[in-house]
C-alpha cells in the first residue's frame, strides 16, 4: 500500500523527535507496567488458588480435637448440609535432619486408609508411599527445596517422645499447606518447619490413636451455611476435647493467604493508581506541549486546505503511535515483572504450579488510559493552533508578552532575568512542569518508604519487643520448675516462662481467635510496647490487646471482653481490656501469667520459655534441646529475622524495588521531556544569543537555569507529596499479618531527590549537546 504524504510526514516527524518519543513512551510504559505487573500477579495468584482448591479438593470446614473414637465420624457425616467427611490423625513432632544443626519442628499427618477425599497431594518429586509400608513418608516441598533434598533420604521424627526413622520417598504440596506457618510463629520458615505425611495406621499407633482421630474435615452441600455446620460440629466434638471447628476463613493457610492477598490487593491497587495517573498526567502535559511546537505546521496544513478535523486526526495518529509504543512496552515489561514477582510469591506460597493470567481487561484499561490522556493533550493543543487563521499562524509568532518578574533586583544579569521572566510569564506551564517533576519525586519516595516501613517493623518487633535469643516451646503445659533445667543447659544465662493458650475473643457480635499469652509482669525478654516503643506494664487483672485486634473487635480500654479458652479449663470469662499495645506483626492478647494460670485453674505452669543465650553455645544448646522430650521446638530470633527478610519482606521489597525502578524511569522521562521541549520552544532565541557572541555555556545557562529552578522547587514539593502518599498507603495497609508503620527515613527522601537530580543532570547533558549543535544560520532565516 502506498503511504499517503501526510502519513509519510508522520513517520518522519516521529523519527525527528525520536528522543522525546522514547522518553514519553517510557513514562507511559512505566505507569502501565506497574499496573500490569500488580494486576497480573494478583490475578495469577488468586486464579491459581481457586483452581488448586477445586482440583485438589480443599474442604470447607475443619475441626481439631484431643481424641475422638472412629465412630464419631458418622455423627459428623450426618450433620445436615455436610457432603463428605474425612478423619485423620495429625501430630506435632520434633524432626532431626542429618547434617542440619538447628532444631526443626513439624506436623506429621496420617495418610487416609482408603482413597483420599480432601487435600489431594501434588507430587513434585519421588513417588507416593506404598500402602502398608510404615516407614515411607512424604515431606512438604518448601522444606525439601530449602534443604535441597531429593528423595530418598532418611528423616528422624520424635512423636510423643518416641523416636522413629522414616524414609522420605516423595515431595508434595497440597492446598491445606500453601502457607506454612509453625504454630506460634509469624513468618514461614521452610528450613525449620516441615509437614510430613506417613502411613495413617502407623501414625495412629505411634501417637496412641488407634481407633480414633484428632482432626476432621468436611465439604458442604451447595447452599449450606458454614456457621451452622461449625456449631453442629462443635456440639458433637466438645466431649472429645474439641478445639473449635472453623470454616475456610479461619483455616491457618487460607487465612494468611487471604490476608496476604488483601495486602497485595492494596499494593496492587494504590501503586498502579498513583503511577498510572501520574503517567497519564505527564503524558497529557508533554503531548500538549509537543503539539504546541507544531503550531506552524498545523497552520501550513490548514493553508493547504486540510480541515481542522483532518489535521486533528493526523496529529492524533502521531500521539497514538507514542501511546501504542508505550503501552506495548508497558504490557510486555509489566508481564515480565509480574511473572518474576509471581514466582517470588510462589517461593512463600507453596502452590504446585502457577496459572499465570493477564486478563484482556487489564490490557484494555492500560491502552485506554494512554489514549485518553494523550488524545486529550493532543486535541487541546491542535484545536488551539487550528483555531488561528493560517495566515497568522504561519507568521513568526509575535514576541511573547513579558513583564518584569516579582523577584528582580537591579544587579541581575540579562540571562538570569530571562530565566525568571520565562518562568513567570507562563505560570501554568511552569506549574505543570513543577507538578510533573514533583510527582515523579513523590513516587520515588513511595517506593523507598516500603523499605523503611519494613525495617521499622523489624526494629520495633524483633529489636525492641523481643529481646530473647531463643524461644522454646513445650509439648504441653509444664511446671515452671522446668526453668531451672533450662538454666542448666549450655550457654543459657536467663530463662523466662510463658503460657500460651488458644482462645476466642468476643465483643458484641465480633469474635476473633488467636493466642492468649501469659507473660511475666516484669519480663526482661519480651516487652509490650506502646506506639512510642516505650514498655507498657501488665496489669494484675485484665488483658492487653494488640492495637489492631482491639480495632477489629471494636473494643476500647475499660470495656469488658469475653474470653473463651479453647483448651484446659475451657473457662469463659469477662475480662476488662486494660490497654492496647502497639505491634506491627501479627495480633495477640496478653495477660499476666499468674492470672492466666488461675483462669486456666492450673498451678504455676508454662508452655514455653524465652532464653538469653551466649551465642557461642548455640549449637551445643540445640543438640541438648533436641534430646529433651518435653521440648516441642525452639526458634532462634536471628533465624526468625532471616526468614522474615527472605520471605515476606522479600516479596514486599521486590515489589517496592520494581516500583522504584519504574518511578525512576518516569522521573527521567519527565525531566528529559521538560527540558527537551523547552529547547524546541526556545531554540530560536538561544541561537540568536549564540549569534550575538554568547558562548555555549552561557546559552545553556539560560535553558538549564530555568530547569534547575523548576527542579529545585519541585523536589521539596515532591517529598511532601510522597510523604502524603506513603501515609495513604500505610493507612490502607492494615491486615492481621502486618500494619505498615508510617516511617520515611531521611535516606529515602535523599535518594528520591538524588534520582531526580541525576535525571536532571543527564537530561541537561543530552540537551546541552543539542545546544552545541544549534544551527545558527538556519535560525536567522526560519521564522519559527
Amino acid at each position: 500500500m502506498k503511504l499517503r504524504a501526510l502519513d509519510r510526514k508522520l513517520f518522519r516527524d516521529l523519527w525527528a523527535v525520536r528522543g522525546q518519543v522514547i522518553a514519553i513512551s517510557l513514562v507511559l510504559a512505566a505507569g502501565v507496567a506497574t499496573y500490569v505487573m500488580a494486576a497480573s500477579t494478583l490475578d495469577s495468584l488468586q486464579r491459581t488458588q481457586a483452581r488448586l482448591y477445586r482440583e485438589f479438593r480443599f474442604p470447607d470446614v475443619f475441626a481439631g480435637m484431643k481424641r475422638a473414637p472412629d465412630g464419631v465420624l458418622a455423627q459428623v457425616a450426618a450433620i445436615p448440609g455436610v457432603a463428605n467427611v474425612e478423619a485423620r490423625v495429625a501430630a506435632p513432632a520434633n524432626i532431626e535432619l542429618a547434617g542440619y544443626g538447628q532444631p526443626v519442628s513439624g506436623l506429621i499427618v496420617g495418610l487416609p486408609h482408603g482413597e483420599a477425599q480432601f487435600n489431594l497431594l501434588h507430587l513434585h518429586a519421588g513417588r507416593m508411599p506404598e500402602p502398608g509400608r510404615e516407614r515411607e513418608a512424604l515431606v512438604s516441598d518448601g522444606f525439601a527445596k530449602a534443604h535441597k533434598l531429593r528423595p530418598r533420604f532418611p528423616l528422624q521424627v520424635t512423636i510423643n517422645g518416641r523416636r522413629r526413622m522414616l524414609e522420605v520417598v516423595g515431595v508434595v504440596s497440597t492446598p491445606e499447606f500453601i502457607y506454612q506457618l509453625a504454630p506460634g510463629s509469624i513468618v514461614p520458615d521452610f528450613k525449620t518447619y516441615v509437614v510430613v505425611w506417613m502411613d495413617g495406621r502407623a501414625l495412629e499407633g505411634a501417637y496412641d490413636m488407634t481407633g480414633a482421630f484428632n482432626q476432621v474435615a468436611a465439604s458442604l452441600q451447595r447452599g449450606t451455611r458454614v456457621e451452622d455446620v461449625v456449631a453442629a460440629m462443635d456440639a458433637i466434638l466438645r466431649p472429645y476435647g474439641g478445639l473449635g471447628a472453623q470454616g475456610r476463613k479461619d483455616q491457618v493457610s487460607h487465612r494468611y493467604l487471604s490476608e496476604e492477598f488483601k495486602q497485595l490487593t492494596m499494593m496492587a491497587t494504590l501503586f498502579p493508581a498513583i503511577f498510572l495517573s501520574v503517567a497519564a498526567f505527564l503524558l497529557n502535559v508533554v503531548v500538549s506541549r509537543l503539539m504546541t511546537t507544531q503550531r506552524s505546521q498545523i497552520a501550513t496544513l490548514k493553508a493547504f486546505g486540510y480541515t481542522t478535523g483532518a489535521v486533528a486526526v493526523h496529529f492524533l495518529k502521531f500521539t497514538a503511535v507514542i501511546v501504542l509504543l508505550g503501552t506495548v512496552l508497558g504490557i510486555g515489561g509489566g508481564a515480565w515483572l509480574g511473572g518474576g514477582l509471581s514466582r517470588l510469591y510462589m517461593d512463600v506460597y507453596r502452590f504446585p504450579y502457577l496459572d499465570y493470567s493477564l486478563r484482556p481487561v487489564v490490557i484494555g484499561i492500560s491502552l485506554a488510559v494512554g489514549l485518553v490522556a494523550a488524545g486529550a493533550g493532543t486535541l487541546v493543543a491542535v484545536l488551539r493552533a487550528a483555531g488561528e487563521s493560517p495566515a497568522v499562524a504561519m507568521q513568526p509568532a509575535n514576541p511573547g508578552r513579558y513583564r518584569r518578574s516579582l523577584f528582580e533586583t537591579a544587579w541581575l544579569s540579562q540571562p538570569t532575568r530571562m530565566i525568571l521572566r520565562n518562568i513567570e510569564r507562563r505560570p501554568v506551564k511552569s506549574l505543570l512542569s513543577v507538578i510533573g517533576v514533583a510527582m515523579s519525586t513523590a513516587i520515588l519516595v513511595l517506593g523507598g518508604f516500603w523499605g523503611d516501613a519494613v525495617d521499622y517493623m523489624v526494629f520495633a518487633q524483633l529489636r525492641r519487643a523481643q529481646l530473647d535469643d531463643v524461644t522454646v516451646t513445650f509439648i504441653g503445659p509444664v511446671s515452671t520448675r522446668a526453668m531451672y533445667s533450662l538454666l542448666s543447659l549450655p550457654g543459657v544465662t536467663y530463662a523466662e516462662p510463658t503460657r500460651a493458650v488458644a482462645a476466642r475473643f468476643r465483643f458484641e457480635q465480633r469474635t476473633y481467635r488467636t493466642a492468649l499469652q501469659g507473660m511475666e509482669p516484669e519480663g526482661r525478654l519480651r516487652r509490650l510496647l506502646d506506639t512510642r516503643l516505650e514498655p507498657v506494664t501488665l496489669p494484675e487483672e485484665g488483658v492487653l490487646l494488640t492495637d489492631h485486634l482491639a480495632k477489629m473487635l471494636g473494643i476500647r480500654p475499660g470495656e469488658m471482653l469475653t474470653v473463651e479458652l479453647l483448651e484446659g479449663s475451657r473457662a469463659v470469662r469477662e475480662v476488662p481490656v486494660a490497654g492496647v499495645v502497639s505491634e506491627y506483626i501479627g495480633v495477640s492478647a496478653y495477660m499476666r501469667r499468674d492470672t492466666l494460670n488461675r483462669f486456666l485453674r492450673e498451678g504455676d505452669s508454662a508452655t514455653g520459655a524465652f532464653l538469653s543465650v551466649d551465642s557461642r553455645a548455640l549449637p551445643e544448646l540445640y543438640a541438648r534441646l533436641k534430646k529433651i522430650p518435653a521440648v516441642a521446638g525452639s526458634a532462634e530470633r536471628a533465624q526468625v529475622l532471616r526468614s522474615f527478610y527472605e520471605t515476606l519482606a522479600a516479596q514486599m521489597l521486590t515489589f517496592a524495588f520494581f516500583n522504584t525502578l519504574l518511578a525512576s524511569t518516569i522521573a527521567i522521562g519527565v525531566v528529559y521531556n521538560t527540558v527537551r521541549i523547552s529547547l524546541s520552544e526556545r531554540g530560536r532565541e538561544l541561537a540568536s544569543l549564540r549569534v550575538l557572541g554568547y558562548t555555549r555555556s552561557e546559552v545553556s545557562y539560560i535553558l538549564l537555569g530555568e530547569l534547575t529552578v523548576l527542579v529545585f522547587v519541585a523536589i521539596p514539593v515532591g517529598l511532601v507529596m510522597g510523604r502524603g502518599l506513603a501515609g495513604v498507603m500505610a493507612g490502607s495497609a492494615q491486615t492481621e499479618l502486618f500494619r505498615i508503620p508510617m516511617v520515611v527515613e531521611p535516606s529515602t527522601y535523599a535518594l528520591a531527590a538524588l534520582v531526580v537530580a541525576v535525571a536532571t543532570v543527564l537530561s541537561a547533558f543530552t540537551v546541552g549537546r543539542k545546544i552545541n549543535h544549534l544551527d545558527l544560520v538556519e535560525v536567522l532565516k526560519a521564522r519559527e
Binding site: Y402, S413, M418, R421, R684, G693, L776, L780
Partner: protein
C-alpha cells in the same frame, strides 16, 4: 585605506545527497574601515552565505577570510564565538530580539559580555528610541524592534556591522527610519558596515555597491556621492 576584511577566493558548497550545490564560487572582496558597503543581488546569489562567513556564523569550504590579521577560516568554534562577541554587530531581517527582555535589557544582554561597550541607554538614543527603553518587544512596532536590534548590534562598538535584509520585513516608510539609524551609526561610530539587500534603490546610500549573482561578484561600483536614506525611494 585600511582593510577590515579581506576575502580571497572564498568558496562554499553544500553537499545535498548526491548533488553539490555551490553557494559561493570564489569570491574575493575587501571591506575597508568606516566604509558603507551594500551587497546587492537576487535571492540565491550567495550574498547571505558570504555575510554569514564574514560574521563567523558559517565556514568557507575553501579560500581565506582575514579579519585584520585574524584568519577566520582557521578559527575553531570558541574562537569564532569570541570573535562575534568582540568585533561583530549583527542585524537580521526578523530582528531576533529576546522577547522576555525590554529594549534596554536586550541591548544590555550584549553590553554585559562586551569589553568596551557604550551604555545601553546611549545606544538606544543613537537609534532614536530613548523614550522606548523600557518597552518589551511585544510593545514595539516592527521598525522599532529593528532599531532596538541595531542598538544592540552597535552597543559593543563593533568594528563591523553586518545587516542581512534589515528592511526586508518592513514597509518603505519604516525601512527608511531603520536605514537612517544604520547610516548614522556608520558615520558616527565609524564601523565598517555591510548591508545585504535585493532592493537596488537602497544601493544609493553606500560608498561601494557590490553586485553578486550566481555565487560570484559580478561587479563593483563606487558611488561618488553617498545619498542620505531620506533621499531613497522604493
Amino acid at each position: 585605506m585600511e582593510s577590515v576584511f579581506s576575502a580571497r577566493d572564498v568558496t562554499k558548497f553544500y553537499d545535498m545527497g548526491e548533488v553539490r550545490v555551490h553557494a559561493l564560487r570564489g569570491v574575493s572582496l575587501e571591506l575597508y574601515a568606516g566604509e558603507m558597503m551594500v551587497l546587492l543581488g537576487p535571492s540565491g546569489s550567495g550574498k547571505s552565505t558570504f555575510l554569514n562567513i564574514l560574521g563567523g556564523l558559517d565556514r568557507a569550504s575553501a579560500g581565506q577570510v582575514l579579519y585584520r590579521n585574524f584568519d577566520i577560516t582557521l578559527a575553531n568554534d570558541s574562537e569564532l564565538t569570541q570573535y562575534r562577541r568582540k568585533h561583530v554587530g549583527f542585524v537580521f531581517q526578523f530582528y531576533n530580539l529576546i522577547p522576555s527582555l525590554t529594549a534596554l535589557e536586550n541591548v544590555a544582554a550584549v553590553t554585559e559580555i562586551a569589553t568596551n561597550p557604550m551604555k545601553p541607554e546611549e545606544a538606544l538614543e543613537l537609534v532614536g528610541l530613548a523614550d522606548r527603553m523600557h518597552h518589551f518587544p511585544s510593545q514595539l512596532s516592527g521598525g522599532q524592534q529593528q532599531r532596538v536590534a541595531i542598538a544592540r548590534a552597535i552597543a559593543k562598538r563593533p568594528s563591523v556591522l553586518l545587516c542581512d535584509e534589515p528592511t526586508g520585513a518592513l514597509d518603505s516608510e519604516t525601512g527608511v527610519v531603520v536605514l537612517e539609524a544604520i547610516d548614522k551609526v556608520n558615520r558616527e561610530l565609524g564601523a565598517a558596515t555591510a548591508v545585504i539587500t535585493h532592493n537596488a534603490d537602497i544601493a544609493g546610500m553606500a560608498d561601494r555597491v557590490v553586485h553578486m549573482s550566481n555565487g560570484q561578484v559580478s561587479g563593483v561600483e563606487v558611488n561618488a556621492h553617498r545619498k542620505a536614506p531620506r533621499e531613497l525611494h522604493w
